[in-house]
């Protein structure tokens, strides 16, 4: 409905809404029919999660009971341009949907950075606008970023933390973090703050400066496809339990390293294929699709993500679909 887009209501016309936020993405990146407005370039994956039962004392979610759970997901690059070239410094994401039989689904979207750059939706919107490439140079205008960073010291600190950690050389050997905090509720009703990570089983290799070749715009995804063709990839799902004082509403703030880490199971990815009707392309990896036993924390970004992703999904669902940048048939060693 045209009258809904961008309307925050007659009494508060300047309030940031999910429509306005997605409008900002479209303003900065352009509109690519049928594609997600962020993490636009991606590829679909599938496999399973082998739960080792260590998570049952933390959460009553069925997915943590010992056993195997089918998983589908998506690897992507952050940014709203589906035909962008793979490159160094592009943030990579892993989105997953755990689908236990006869129990609730769990969806999560994680990034390969240690903390998120902003704390609130308003800051995210401002940062996005400040990062819009200057038409003259094709690059963001530092004159716009400076006042933003001055007004958001938490972002300046977060960016320092992000830059201090070298990026890995690909999707396969990256570790993906929930960034937002959640709450696990166990069978006795105890609720605890958690963050989680998919920690790669591959040895770490830093990005090489000459890695991005001019010819292959999809060198990161192509390397991933080649890797999955050889053998399945694995990650350990590590849950970090926060102390009562640890901030759950500051995605820019890391928790101290000495917090308890629990390995609750192993993710195996053994299939990869391009986005197509009915696969991960048409799934919205809303981080608030949670099973009974996992609940949102007071992190303000969670409801924002859910609202914004829903807006993007609704806009793109009815649009004419273009083929994705990455084209590969269903590849892998599955059963």
């Amino acid at each position: 409905m045209p009258c809904m887009k961008g309307d925050a209501g007659w009494f508060s016309p300047h309030r940031l809404t999910q429509a306005r936020l997605i409008d900002t993405f479209e303003q900065v990146n352009g509109i690519y029919s049928g594609f997600r407005r962020n993490h636009a370039k991606g590829v679909c994956i599938a496999g399973y999660f082998e739960s080792n039962g260590q998570g049952t004392r933390l959460s009553k979610a069925v997915v943590f009971q010992p056993g195997r759970v089918p998983v589908i997901g998506r690897f992507a690059l952050a940014g709203g341009q589906p035909y962008m070239a793979d490159g160094p410094k592009a943030v990579r994401s892993m989105a997953l949907s755990f689908r236990p039989r006869d129990a609730e689904e769990w969806r999560t979207g994680m990034n390969d950075i240690p903390v998120f750059a902003v704390r609130t939706a308003e800051a995210f919107n401002e940062q996005l606008l400040a990062s819009k490439p200057d038409p003259a140079t094709g690059k963001p205008d530092p004159a716009k970023m400076k006042p933003f960073l001055a007004a958001h010291p938490e972002t300046a600190r977060a960016i320092q933390l992000i830059n201090a950690k070298p990026f890995s050389s690909g999707f396969a050997n990256a570790t993906y973090n929930s960034l937002d905090a959640f709450r696990f509720v166990n069978a006795t009703g105890a609720s605890m703050p958690v963050r989680w990570s998919m920690v790669t089983a591959e040895p770490f290799e830093p990005e090489a400066p000459d890695q991005a070749t001019a010819q292959d715009k999809n060198y990161l995804v192509d390397a991933l496809i080649a890797r999955v063709e050889q053998a399945p990839l694995q990650w350990h799902l590590i849950v970090t339990i926060g102390q009562p004082d640890d901030p759950t509403n500051h995605a820019t703030t890391p928790w101290p390293d000495n917090r308890e880490h629990v390995d609750v199971g192993t993710l195996t990815i053994d299939h990869i294929e391009s986005e197509a009707p009915g696969n991960c392309r048409d799934v919205n990896f809303d981080p608030l699709v949670l099973p009974f036993g996992i609940a949102p924390s007071d992190d303000p970004l969670l409801s924002v993500r859910s609202a914004a992703y829903s807006q993007s999904f609704t806009r793109r669902a009815g649009e004419k679909k273009q083929p994705s940048a990455v084209q590969t048939p269903d590849t892998g060693m599955g059963e």
Binding site: M1, M4, D7, A8, G9, R15, L16, T17, Q18, A19, L21, A103, E104, E105, A121, P277, G278, R281, D282, V283, N284, D286, L288, V289, P291, F292, P296, P300, L302, S303, V304, S306, A307, A308, S310, F313, T314, R316, A317, G318, K321
Partner: protein, 163 residues
């Protein structure tokens, strides 16, 4: 309405919206069965034909929308392959196959039907107030919880509590 224009309240609003919608579906089914078994009081003899037509039509439209809206909601979530959580582990099965375009169509339909229901409710409520305050012909009393007052009773209207 707040759902689609609020970032921070989105999650809890949507979370109560779904079970409330299903509750309305169940209640309107019960109401319809009750209405078929216990017919409504007849309209006053002197009521003009156009008013009778509008009254009957508005009832059909209200019932239709109260059935259609939650079913379209359930259908659209099914087509989007969203889980349909009512409360805790209690969820509804999908009623349509996973199809992005089908979701887009139903999502728009949900909004259009919602505005239609809102408009029909306002019109219906305004008409009821017209009968209560302007016409004073006993029609409002026949809808309200309380019995019709003696002076407003019309021929053929039942004395029972009607709702």
């Amino acid at each position: 309405m707040g759902m689609v224009a609020s970032l921070s309240d989105y999650h809890w609003l949507v979370s109560i919206h779904k079970p409330l919608g299903i509750l309305i579906l169940v209640l309107v089914a019960i109401r319809l069965v009750n209405r078929l078994l216990n017919p409504a009081p007849s309209l006053p003899d002197g009521m003009p034909a156009w008013q009778r037509f509008v009254a009957h039509t508005s009832h059909v439209v209200l019932y239709g929308l109260m059935f259609a809206l939650p079913l379209v909601g359930w259908g659209m979530l099914s087509a989007a392959r969203y889980p349909i959580i009512l409360y805790g582990p209690l969820q509804l099965p999908p009623i349509l196959p996973h199809d992005a375009v089908l979701y887009a169509v139903l999502r728009t339909a949900h909004t259009v039907l919602a505005f239609l229901l809102f408009a029909t409710f306002i019109a219906h409520f305004s008409a009821a107030l017209m009968h209560a305050l302007i016409y004073r012909d006993g029609v409002f009393a026949s809808m309200a919880f309380w019995k019709a007052r003696a002076g407003q009773r019309t021929t053929g209207a039942k004395d029972d509590y009607i709702f």
